[in-house]
């Protein structure tokens, strides 16, 4: 059970983190422009 929790926690952290970072990068680059 612990491996199931860690696996999905990792997936959420990586995919969610990547999504948030990408959206923030768009905002930052558009602000600079």
């Amino acid at each position: 059970m612990i491996y199931l929790v860690i696996a999905y926690a990792f997936a959420v952290a990586l995919l969610g983190g990547f999504l948030v970072w990408s959206l923030r990068t768009i905002r930052e680059l558009e602000r600079i422009q």
Binding site: L4, F10, L14, L15, F18, I26, I32, Q33
Partner: protein
Amino acid sequence: MNRYERAALAAVGLMLVAAAAIFLYAPTDALQGPVQRIFYLHVSSAIAAYGCFAVVLVGGVIYLFNGSIAADRFARAGAVVGVVFTTVTLVMGMLWAKPIWNTFWTWDARLTSTLVLWIIYAGYLLVRRMAEPGRQAARFAAVVGIFGFIDVPVVHFSVTWWRTQHPGPIVVNDALPAEMLATFLFTLACTLALATVFIAIRYRIETLIDQKVNAVEPAEVIAAPQPEAAP
């Protein structure tokens, strides 16, 4: 909220519904127990990664054919997103392997070829980051992306070409009960939608970076100190 944020919100909503299907609808595997639920996102992420690397392949071919900057941007976007999904596949696979195989890693054909796939496209991104932006780097990266795709069918068919500890295909062999199959197909559709949104967002970032580079370069030329004229 811009259109990328709205698309991201929709994709996150779909993934939450997929999570509900995985944890509330799909039955618990009689043999492996709850840990088998890793399967749904593990396999979906692998297929999403294949799709992303296909974008790199097509983008690279089009770029080499007609020098389209848009195709090169799509290839860059596909490589980043593909590496993210391959990372999810590898790590979730390792965490599934530990309770079932009693080891996180074994050097069988499926795991090794997947690791090689990750290294190829991480190398592609490294080349893009380290090389001076321009046509030379884009051409070289396109060639790496095209030849790197050779590993995708190797990964996919490794379980049938060689004897592996990793299980063979179960979806195409009708080895899943109906509820598990429905959950898997729904999770796959949601993961592909998420990958599409990721690529659209990364494409926008690559466009903005290109515009920034093009805007900065002439200014740098103007700002650069001029050599003093000889007396």
